[in-house]
């Protein structure tokens, strides 16, 4: 049995996202996993995972208590004075940074895994020291949008990427984007696809297209999700007299979407729902006819993988890593971005497909999800990345070491 690693997972919060939680759960079976965050507690902590507070973002009193506790643990008067000075100044960021430094010293991790590029500023001192290897995930907006529209952000990442020991990319497309920021012959970048506990997701049997046609989208109402184009498509679809209901789970309360629904006269056929628990989302997926993903850019959307695992046919824009998941008309259907006419045409085509063809696509989609997106594969892929990064780091520190192992 291999020696367990001490891994720090950092995205700034204890709660993190569902997919980071799945990674944490998987890693915690074999390794010592620490989640650091700017919270004080978590309602449903993951078993075997150690949560370390760096001081609350919301509550100044709790931040002070956490900071003082951290200082006391150091057993140094100087440390205590430093904290007191920062408390008097109300210097929240520096208090949290100090707490992070002490936490890293205490844990002495084998690896630090940053989940988003926006967290790099917290670890600049670690990157400068080059003692603990840092892995960065390239997942979405912060990698495939912001650097390419914000020169300062691009320059910042270009400055720090060479100091990052290894990269995790959620898709090949994402890795290519990362290379545009910085590339090198020695760059370690591993594509590890998102993982699901597929066995726990039951496949819907006996699929039929509902009447009215039930269209479903799932995700926060961010412009990159392209819901404005989906609503334009709904307007066109309404003009064809095809009866449909379109639900956007997570879209409730969005001003722009509400305005467009009203503007296009879609109040009776489009519904914006609040965010829902995963089990209810799966239930809704089983009641729908088609998952519509009109995004302008994506890493590799978890919601597509989940819909494919459930057996809900998917119609998605061909952006980011989607084509690594779906071959057009094989595991789903692809359409160009920013094209409401293409969305409508594809929906109409879908309604005319023979049952056997839809069934074949559904089965192929489930198979693809099983083969490419199991939780075991995700955890194993990440472990391989960590170990490779550590071996390379070790070989750099002791050049005589045998590096042929990798």
């Amino acid at each position: 049995m291999q020696k367990p690693l001490k891994i720090i997972i950092f995205d700034g919060s204890f709660k993190t996202t569902a997919f980071i939680n799945r990674l944490v759960t998987g890693l915690a079976q074999q390794h010592q996993v620490y989640v650091l965050g700017f919270n004080e507690s978590l309602a449903k902590p993951i078993e075997k995972v150690t949560y370390v507070s760096l001081g609350s973002n919301q509550n100044k009193f709790k931040l002070a208590i956490t900071s003082l506790k951290q200082a006391m643990r150091q057993g140094s008067i100087r440390g205590l004075l430093t904290i007191l000075k920062k408390l008097v100044r109300g210097d929240k960021k520096h208090l949290q940074q100090q707490n992070l430094t002490w936490t890293l010293k205490k844990i002495n991790p084998d690896i630090i895994h940053l989940q988003w590029p926006s967290t790099i500023p917290w670890f600049e001192h670690v990157l400068l020291e080059q003692k603990i290897p840092v892995v960065l995930s390239q997942r979405g907006y912060h990698n495939n949008v912001r650097p390419f529209v914000d020169t300062d952000n691009f320059d910042y990442l270009q400055q720090w990427y060479p100091k990052i020991a290894g990269f995790h990319s959620v898709s090949k497309a994402m890795a290519i984007n990362g290379d545009k920021i910085w590339n090198s012959l020695n760059k370690i970048d591993r594509v590890v696809y998102t993982g699901l506990v597929i066995d726990e997701i039951s496949f819907k049997k006996g699929f039929t297209i509902t009447s009215p046609l039930q269209l479903l989208s799932i995700g926060r109402p961010h412009w990159k999700k392209g819901y404005d184009y989906a609503l334009q498509a709904c307007k066109l679809l309404k003009e064809t007299n095809i009866a449909f209901q379109y639900t956007i789970i997570g879209g409730a309360g969005d001003e722009e979407l509400q305005f467009l629904i009203h503007e296009f006269g879609l109040q009776s056929c489009v519904k914006l729902e609040n965010r829902l628990p995963q089990e209810i989302v799966f239930k809704q997926m089983k009641q729908a006819s088609l998952l519509l993903m009109p995004s302008l850019e994506e890493g590799l959307p978890n919601v597509l993988v989940e819909a494919m695992a459930v057996g809900l046919p998917v119609l998605s824009t061909d952006c980011g890593g989607v084509s690594e998941l779906i071959t057009h008309a094989k595991e789903g259907w692809l359409i160009p971005i920013r094209n409401p006419n293409a969305i409508v045409d594809s929906i109409i085509d879908f309604t005319k497909l023979p049952q056997e063809q839809i069934e074949a696509v559904r089965l192929a989609a489930r198979k693809k999800a099983e083969q490419q997106h199991s939780e075991e594969m995700m955890v194993a892929g990440m472990e391989k990345l960590y170990k490779k990064v550590m071996r390379v780091q070790k070989s750099i520190r002791s050049p005589k070491a045998n590096i042929s192992l990798f």
Binding site: V145, R146, F148, V149, D150, H222, W223, K224, Q232, G253, E255, E256, Q258, F259, L260, H262, E263, L296, E297, I337, R338
Partner: protein, 398 residues
């Protein structure tokens, strides 16, 4: 006559609408004072009364609360009247206390008119004017009528019952208000926004001619939009239209003057990137009045393809600066620009139609362009000047 103008904060000197309104009223003998959440900058055009503070510290908030109620004691009859009106409207005791605190600055006022600068400002203060024995006016400005009620249905029901007079900047907004059950019996005055036509003016026809030189096929067309970066301004739709032109080989530059949230800026910049026109789009950011004037002077076609727009002062400035203006038909824009006479109005949310309209405008003869821009500038000068607006506001309260 004493007018209390309720707006979120004191206007900056570039905010023509309120500044010219205040100056105009003062020149005609009105006593104007502002009721704001906070005072911004060194505004000293008229007295400002700030609303009671709302803070997160419960102890300090408690103290402010107590202080506000003590200072309201000399106004007991007004408070009793206000409480009766609120209780009649079904307001509970806790809510009544909150409302009394938040309106304390207005409840102490002695005014003839309480004028809410935006309909949203009146929410929660509907009974204040009656309680202090004043008349209540409200302005319809855009977002407050076209967007806010979609998220808060029925938010103006009480306002419609209490308002004495409505000011709208466009018929488009008024129509929307009627659809939200504003009673037809409420008196309404349409007073369109105005600009400083002396400042925003082209010195001569030759300058207009010079502008239009840029519409020769070999020269890039210089498009311009002035406005904050917000989804309702339709920037992505404009970029989609421009991308169509680019595919047809029409060279251009597109300057966007204005700022907004990082998220909105990234949305527009990413659209330009994906549409292949990143190099043709210039984000000029926030500019001062002089700099904006220079941008108008450089531009050939002014675009305002908004998804929602109350009226839009920038288009008035562009017309006054003899730009060829192409706009959408959102709310008040078709009243701002007369289709085929002072510019062109294109159905909103149809970037292909916008691209077609732009192409047609580019193909117009020089004479046609000059004739149209001259007429547009004259119309702004004669019908949408600050002097005319000031006179209309003075008449509004009479």
């Amino acid at each position: 006559m004493k007018i209390g103008l309720v707006i979120p904060n004191s206007p900056g000197y570039s905010e023509t609408f309120f500044i010219s309104k205040i100056k105009g009223l003062q020149e005609r003998g009105f006593d104007v004072r502002l009721y704001c959440q906070y005072k911004k900058g060194d505004f000293n055009l008229c007295p400002i009364v700030c609303s009671p503070k709302v803070i997160s510290n419960p102890f300090l908030q408690g103290w402010y609360f107590l202080k506000a109620f003590l200072l309201l004691l000399p106004y007991l009859p007004t408070i009793v009247r206000y409480s009766n009106l609120e209780r009649k409207a079904g307001t509970g005791l806790i809510q009544l206390l909150k409302k009394t605190y938040l309106n304390a600055h207005l409840l102490k006022a002695k005014l003839d008119w309480v004028h809410y600068g935006f309909a949203t400002q009146a929410i929660g203060s509907e009974n204040v004017a009656k309680a202090i024995g004043a008349k209540m006016a409200v302005s319809f400005r855009g977002f407050d009528i076209a967007i806010y009620p979609l998220k808060h249905p029925g938010c103006y029901n009480l306002l419609w019952e209490q308002v004495d007079k409505v000011h709208t900047i466009s018929d488009g907004l008024l129509d929307k208000a009627y659809k939200m059950r504003l009673p037809q019996s409420v008196p309404v005055e349409k007073i369109m926004p105005a600009i400083d036509v002396n400042f925003f003016s082209c010195p001569s026809k030759s300058m207009a001619l010079e502008h239009n030189q840029a519409l020769k096929p070999t020269e890039p067309v210089r498009f311009l939009t002035v406005g904050r970066l917000h989804w309702k301004k339709g920037y992505v739709l404009m970029l989609e239209a421009l991308a169509i032109l680019k595919k047809k080989g029409i060279p251009f530059t597109y300057t966007i003057v204005g700022s907004g949230s990082k998220k909105e800026r990234e949305r527009i910049a990413f659209a330009a990137l994906q549409l292949g026109i990143k190099e043709d789009v210039i984000f000029a950011g926030t500019l001062n009045r002089e700099q904006v004037k220079k941008e108008y002077a450089k531009a050939t076609i002014y675009l305002q393809y908004s998804i929602s727009e109350g009226f839009c002062n920038a288009i008035l400035e562009a017309q006054s600066m003899k730009n060829l203006c192409i706009v959408s038909n959102a709310e008040g824009l078709a009243e701002n620009v007369l289709h085929g006479e002072t510019g062109w109005v294109v159905p909103k949310l149809h970037p292909k139609l916008l691209a077609e309209q732009i192409e047609q405008v580019i193909k117009l003869s020089e004479e046609e362009k000059i004739q149209l821009t001259e007429y547009a500038a004259d119309r702004v000068k004669n019908e949408l000047s600050i002097e005319k607006q000031q006179a209309e506001f003075a008449a509004f309260y009479s």
